[in-house]
Symmetry: C2
Subunit: 200 residues, 2 copies
């Protein structure tokens, strides 16, 4: 069995959302699985000195335009959320907590959370909202809300974010195929080409 | 006659170099011309607060890797220059000075300068080197070296850079098709699609 692809993303990243709607099918076409790995860009930006897109002069306005255009190209529902960006600790902790019990369910949760935030403008940084999204998938909302404040779950996410940074992850989406890193939803074609050809 | 495409680039930008090797043919396939517009990212970064790629932790190492990989994909000769990035005032002023006399020659000069810097590791920030590259194309080297220090030529470049910033240009390459902006050499396929379809 070929190595799975690592798919790093921040729940507050629209380009991560776009990639999330394609990555599983793309990998499956080449007999690969995908390990979904939510991270926190806030922690990364402390190291790189980068700023959230909307706050950057010139680049921020371009991004707003490019996001709408990219959504049309990817054919995915998208509306820049009222509150953007958000700190994605609650959904990310919820993801890993569910993932340690049921990895397939965690992926469905990630997809549902992304959809809630970027298609329905629901503020998933609020544990109540993340809990509601998870409840629709059969997760116990009260348990989830309790879990996101447990030290072990906090530590679980922190460990993942630290490992991602250690590996060089600095943006979202960030996809690693057999050790080869690709940054950005506009690199999915290169990811596919790499999977197909083994590199160039 | 359809509007020409605006092609903004910094002579110190490897992604600008990659795009420069494709943009004319791409535009010609759709009956378009290209206006080449060198700018100075240093002036842009003062406004956006961005830093040169190699100096950004994590992102800088990725970029070094991605540049080599992109060069192979674009099938262009490339070596990260010994001195990188450079301030591109001399080659940019030389470009506009030549351009005001002979636009076609200025384009050839731009291509030759990019090649000298990214394929031959010659430091084109040095007016002597820019002069040598231009001399090969029949430009008078001594006149060129004098021109890059003339107030009118300095002002010519400054006006172009200011106009680019006014228009929202924040990176290189930055391509505008009928008012629609595209940032990055990895957006050339979208540029082509936009030319073909008129948008999506």
């Amino acid at each position: 069995m070929a190595n799975p692809i690592d798919f790093y993303f921040d729940f507050s990243s629209p380009y991560g959302y776009f990639a999330s709607t394609k990555i599983d099918e793309l990998a499956a076409r080449h007999g690969r699985g995908v390990v979904w790995r939510p991270i926190l860009l806030g922690a990364v930006f402390k190291i790189t000195g980068q700023q959230p897109l909307p706050t950057i002069p010139l680049k921020g306005s371009y991004a707003a335009h490019d996001l709408a255009r990219s959504a049309r190209l990817f054919k995915v529902p998208f509306k820049l959320p009222t509150k953007f960006p958000i700190g994605a600790t609650a959904p990310s902790r919820a993801f890993y907590w569910v993932s340690d019990q049921d990895a397939a369910l965690a992926r469905k949760l990630a997809q549902a959370l992304y959809h809630a935030y970027f298609a329905e403008d629901r503020d998933i940084s609020n544990p109540e909202v993340t809990g509601n999204v998870a409840a629709k998938l059969g997760v116990d909302k009260a348990e989830l809300i309790q879990a996101v404040n447990e030290p072990a779950v906090k530590e679980r996410l922190k460990t993942e974010v630290d490992a991602a940074i250690e590996r060089g992850v600095f943006g979202s989406p960030y996809i690693v195929v057999d050790g080869e890193p690709f940054w950005g939803s506009d690199r999915l074609e290169q990811v596919e080409r790499w999977l197909k050809t083994g590199g160039w």
